[in-house]
């Protein structure tokens, strides 16, 4: 049996959702999104997923070629504002690709180099990372293994908190705490 590296990574990444039960799976980027779709279609059919616009789906949408949202398997309206109701409940698991990740489990998608006021490269900003990291499970997808991503010391901008941030050195996983040390 032959398979591509991308297919191997999709399958491996999909396993992070195996034990999640009925939570919202959010895969950002092509491979993380395919990993979430694969998990929902195989190992964890209880997963929930949106159409990336305003509806929840009972079956994942294809990642390309969709011409009409009316043809999808919508379950309920899920506007942007309502995503935060879900985030704050803890019933979500995001699989995202940080630009930097450090040994403490902190990540960065905001800015690189320079100073906070005048970074060398301005990226997205912290977006939902701070809230995500204190509310629900997060997994990180890092396809390029280099010192530029796995930084020495700490991330240039800390966007998501780490196991060092909690008194007992534990990371949030779903709504329960599990020890990472």
């Amino acid at each position: 049996m032959t398979f591509s590296l991308a297919e191997l990574m999709i399958c491996a990444a999909s396993r992070v959702f195996d034990e999640d039960g009925e939570v919202l799976a959010t895969g950002i980027g092509l491979l993380p999104r395919l990993a979430a779709s694969l998990a929902m279609s195989t190992t964890n059919p209880d997963l929930m997923m949106t159409d990336s616009q305003a509806f929840m789906l009972s079956k994942p949408n294809p990642v390309s070629g969709l011409t009409d949202h009316n043809a999808q398997a919508s379950e309920n309206w899920m506007g942007f504002s309502r995503i935060f109701d879900n985030v704050w409940s803890g019933a979500r698991h995001a699989l995202v690709g940080p630009s930097q990740i450090d040994r403490f489990g902190q990540t960065n998608i905001s800015a690189l180099g320079g100073t906070y006021g005048a970074p060398k490269i301005q990226l997205l900003g912290v977006r939902g990372f701070p809230g995500n990291s204190i509310c629900h499970a997060n997994s990180f997808f890092v396809p390029q293994h280099s010192r530029r991503v796995f930084v020495e010391g700490e991330c240039d901008v800390v966007c998501s908190f780490s196991y060092l941030s909690t008194p007992d050195g534990c990371l949030l996983r779903g709504s329960a705490m599990s020890c990472a040390r």
Binding site: H69, W77, F80, S81
Partner: protein, 142 residues
């Protein structure tokens, strides 16, 4: 964290009557309901104006996400959401976003304003291809 008390909110709706009852027919009204509730003065820009009887249809009334006392000004401006979208009437203008980013890089906001803004909305719409071109912008599919 203390509340942000906005002086002014500017939001887009599909249709409204003259008293400020707004229909958002788009799949999502995003945070617009929070904005108009937080602001001292809320301005709604609409693509179409309707009589109040339009809202007697309960399917339409379900697409009204705040009360009319949240709105202080109604502006009728077909195509007024450009270069962003007013789903389901028209999508956002991706080529214009790219041109905007180029001009901002070259000469800041003034470079874009000089190239497109014009003296009024008619002039602006002419500079981006006209109202018919705006109305023909395809809806996004994710």
């Amino acid at each position: 964290m203390p509340a942000l008390n906005l002086d002014v909110a500017l939001v887009q709706a599909t249709r409204a009557d003259a008293s400020g009852v707004c229909e958002i027919a788009s799949p999502d009204h995003y945070m617009d309901d929070w904005f108009v509730r937080a602001a001292t003065h809320s301005i709604v820009s609409i693509d179409e104006v309707v009589e109040s009887e339009y809202f007697q249809n309960p399917d339409v009334a379900r697409k009204v996400f705040w009360e009319r006392n949240c709105i202080q000004s109604v502006v009728l401006q077909p195509g007024g959401a450009h270069p962003t979208s007013s789903d389901p009437l028209y999508g956002f203008d991706v080529p214009h976003f790219k041109r905007y980013a180029e001009l901002i890089n070259e000469g800041g906001f003034a470079a874009w304003a000089d190239a497109f803004l014009g003296s009024d909305e008619v002039a602006y719409q002419q500079s981006v291809g006209g109202l018919d071109a705006i109305k023909a912008l395809p809806l996004p599919v994710y």
